[in-house]
Symmetry: D2
Subunit: 347 residues, 4 copies
Amino acid sequence: MTKIKVGIIGAGRIGKIHADNLLRHPDVEIVAVSDLFAGEELKAWAAARGIGILTKDSDDIIRHPDIDAVFICSSTDTHVPLIKQAALAGKHIFCEKPVSMEIERTEEAIEAVRQAGVKLQIGFNRRFDHNFKRVRQHVEDGTIGTPHIVKITSRDPSPPPRDYIKVSGGLFMDMAIHDFDMARFLSGSEVVEVYAQGGVLVDPVFAEYEDVDTAIITLKFANGALGVIDNSRKAVYGYDQRVEVFGSKGSVSVANDHPNTAVVSTEEGISSDKPLHFFLERYTQAYAEEVEKFIDSLVNGAPLPVDGNDGLQAERIALAAKLSYRLNRAVKISEIGELRRSMAIQT
Amino acid sequence: MTKIKVGIIGAGRIGKIHADNLLRHPDVEIVAVSDLFAGEELKAWAAARGIGILTKDSDDIIRHPDIDAVFICSSTDTHVPLIKQAALAGKHIFCEKPVSMEIERTEEAIEAVRQAGVKLQIGFNRRFDHNFKRVRQHVEDGTIGTPHIVKITSRDPSPPPRDYIKVSGGLFMDMAIHDFDMARFLSGSEVVEVYAQGGVLVDPVFAEYEDVDTAIITLKFANGALGVIDNSRKAVYGYDQRVEVFGSKGSVSVANDHPNTAVVSTEEGISSDKPLHFFLERYTQAYAEEVEKFIDSLVNGAPLPVDGNDGLQAERIALAAKLSYRLNRAVKISEIGELRRSMAIQT
Amino acid sequence: MTKIKVGIIGAGRIGKIHADNLLRHPDVEIVAVSDLFAGEELKAWAAARGIGILTKDSDDIIRHPDIDAVFICSSTDTHVPLIKQAALAGKHIFCEKPVSMEIERTEEAIEAVRQAGVKLQIGFNRRFDHNFKRVRQHVEDGTIGTPHIVKITSRDPSPPPRDYIKVSGGLFMDMAIHDFDMARFLSGSEVVEVYAQGGVLVDPVFAEYEDVDTAIITLKFANGALGVIDNSRKAVYGYDQRVEVFGSKGSVSVANDHPNTAVVSTEEGISSDKPLHFFLERYTQAYAEEVEKFIDSLVNGAPLPVDGNDGLQAERIALAAKLSYRLNRAVKISEIGELRRSMAIQT
Amino acid sequence: MTKIKVGIIGAGRIGKIHADNLLRHPDVEIVAVSDLFAGEELKAWAAARGIGILTKDSDDIIRHPDIDAVFICSSTDTHVPLIKQAALAGKHIFCEKPVSMEIERTEEAIEAVRQAGVKLQIGFNRRFDHNFKRVRQHVEDGTIGTPHIVKITSRDPSPPPRDYIKVSGGLFMDMAIHDFDMARFLSGSEVVEVYAQGGVLVDPVFAEYEDVDTAIITLKFANGALGVIDNSRKAVYGYDQRVEVFGSKGSVSVANDHPNTAVVSTEEGISSDKPLHFFLERYTQAYAEEVEKFIDSLVNGAPLPVDGNDGLQAERIALAAKLSYRLNRAVKISEIGELRRSMAIQT
């Protein structure tokens, strides 16, 4: 069998994770990696993995005739132009979330992909987590009946640096966007309305960028179900990633993953170790599986597990959350276009 | 020592629970019980407990010269007049929640109590639950630092009958009012703003009375913290009463109570028994303790653990939730007076 | 209905617990209490409970014509003579464990009870614990198939004082006897062979009295199943009372009870409160229920839940364990008579 | 850096696991694999992994000049001769457990290794399990004080086939040997005495080979602590691998690993998925880590985590257990030599 030839654009933390997962796949060959800041360290990294081409120019990847698929792991502002170019060049695309911070731009990218007839998968890795998959399966199997309430707790162990906050797009677009996708994934229904309440309780730096570090977001789904997400940029005890779906026949919930099951009992009380620290530890297997499913789709024509539309819908919810927070009222997904025009805001 | 002499007005389910808890108290004597529907059954019940007076007329209790304190366990519409009368008669008062469904009326009752210099405790029994008390203690001790998010899950095992729904005041006033008090209790801060989203997902009968059976309520506290409550009238697996307080130094959460700790492992999976079925099973000890604290306050002058103002604040939040749900926007506690006038609604 | 009239012999900690549980029973009247050391304190205690007769002489109880049933809560050496006297006087008997530390004496007591046609219940309170009852029920229901292994963990929070150790009969007879009864109760099968290994790891005082403070006891049941008990006189984290029954179709196990379900997550880890401290906290409800069942048997003729034979069998196992520990080999229940003769030991 | 060149003898299930873990190691090259039954399937397997030499003759590996280390994964009866040959050839050795079923033969193998000055690691993979490592660490750190009781539950999901039972060496040597090593590992002390009780409760086939399928084994450690192991060949709910160490300052215990944390609550009760099915699922990471540590020892001279003596000690305990079961009495490790002679048994 001929191997799928892959090029990776952007060799930061996430690009490297994808690379290592791709290298373990028997049907894949990584032909080239590009990174704006490619230096000695990256050279050594690529060499150790037998990756032949290391370049600073993403064009070298997009124009490479042998490459079948590109992984876009560069900064968010480059996603849309790269998707368009890759689609035009007939490459299949795996792109990190979010596609962009402007709905119209994301729509353009999706349209380019559609016209080119290539595949586009968005990096919503959490759908592949063993816990969340099991919840989804129970919902699909009807174990809990019709979903009434979807609850998502999503808290990071510590806030990102100021430089990241500045360009992140804000908590709703940067962090909660994973939760918006999770809400759609778990409920199997579209979000039609959003109310977001937030606060700056962790670090005043967030206020400087009109951002929040703590949020409660209420969702209303097309099927009438309700959802709620609580976010914090700082859970000192580690990455907190739990969900619950409550329905007419019961509920299903998942707790965090822990490094071990050891429980210590002493005169002081009962204790155990904290949850897995952050996304690299918690989603190790999920990252591997999302890449596997993408390759599987290319090789065997299996349907994509997360496509461009999933990216778009999550962005719409994020935008509605942002608007809701500013207006302090519920915002319908259907009114975000008009609201943005009337508010003349850039989001 | 002279015993505290108590009269109980309303001998329904909750009145009887209070009676039995009072009977176990060495410092208390139940002198009289009144109930509109006092019949043979109640007569036997009172006789078995050595309660000398059983009457249909609450006046017999309020005017009884020996009685020191009255327990008002009759229907909500009788609470305010009975509180006023009892206060005027110089009796201390334990009154079930809510005091009334109209803020102004509740304020009148509190004013009457104040003028009479008697004590008034409101039946927010959950404050005395062993789990919630432990959460509160951790918050007070600073174990989790400054609270950022208060989360309350509160779901009943099955909806009340139509006749009850009709006069209940609606989910926000009837059911969530306990959670509003819990939010204040756990956070130690006042609620300043409310957003309520709801739906009729359990039974269409709720729609007939402009009520909901499922709700997500977002709270904003005076100190900037956020809160969220999720309610359902029907959790088929039993009474679901959990809370979590998340703060700058960590979180504390409580799970449901179960009738036993037995875990069965078979070829089909791992299983255990459902949580305690409903409030009678879950709050047995809490009901006993709230009565004990009330008596303790009368005997030893200890401060009341829940007073009239606590009842009033919870009603204000409930009203704000009701208004928010109708207006589909966040409602400030400070604006409920004006809003009610402008909407000319009766709540 | 006429009330069951009860006399209590021995008003130590356990006698008082039984008294308070009896007082709560609508069908019971406590007529008299005897205690060798009855003084002012006990007088006040009895007065507060409306108990008419307080005496130092147990004869006053056994000869009292109105008394239907006696609770024998005095020291172990008095059990057999009191049972015999009470049986002769036609009283029903509730006796604390063990009946005696000599099998033959226990047999005599049982014979006296048989001849008198009165009822004798032994105070194996743990059979009434909500957790262990649930395990037994699963075993009876066949949930876990045929039992293969019965595991019992039974550890006290702290060792008794020297004076108690001296006369306790040793860990096997004093402490593990509850576990021997539990093994029979859970498995529904008789123990036929015992191997006991022990050590003095907690406090050298145990060695002074040829006792152990730590033990592992292996049981073989008549039906071929195996059992294992681990005991310690000192679990610093509190009373540790867990069991597991493992069988052909699965297993059922119970964890300890805790004062609350609060879980705290901080930078240091996850923690919760210790289990309920000791038997008074853990078995509160079980003590109430064993008394209720005894009274129920007297009033309604329901079969006794734990009878004299149960007491005898547990003592036999305890003796076998004691012998096994000395001989460092497995001891059959059927050989304990002969072994004792050949060893000329007093146990 | 030059890579460690490895040859694998025996390409059954466990040989293949080691191979895949070795292939992932950057410092390792697998030069050759031998298997008595090497056929087309194995050829394809080796080819897909780029393994150059596939042979039926283990000599091809032992005499290969480039090979630094051999993995002995063939049947138990071949272990000793292969260890001797490999040692003579100057190869480092990783050998599966048990080294042999005869203590003297194991001693010969260890002596050969000593004389050759090569390294020998035994495949006690469970020492590398994340849960058991954490328990050991707590014991070492003194978290639980001086160990008093070590408890090990070790149950397989289903019995092996008759052909395996026939040559397995019996439950004590084949299955419990892992637990004997675990007991030494966790306690940090040598076992000095063993008592084993067993039964044929799962399948009569075990009786045909004088084997048992269910066992309770009591251990006494040199430091006075006690241990207990319970084994079953058939836990229908999956692989059951739990331990607890109880000591003067508390206890530490570990529960099973599960494929996810999903908990379902319905009208029927609370349920979750079974534990990971068997050793391949449970010990995936442990298998990887034991190989990593072995290579690490070869490359960096780090001490071996499990050596020949560890293999020998576990075999001694297994033999004592076997003898104890036959004699139905406790057997000291120090008396097994004499006992075997006097019993003229082959074990």
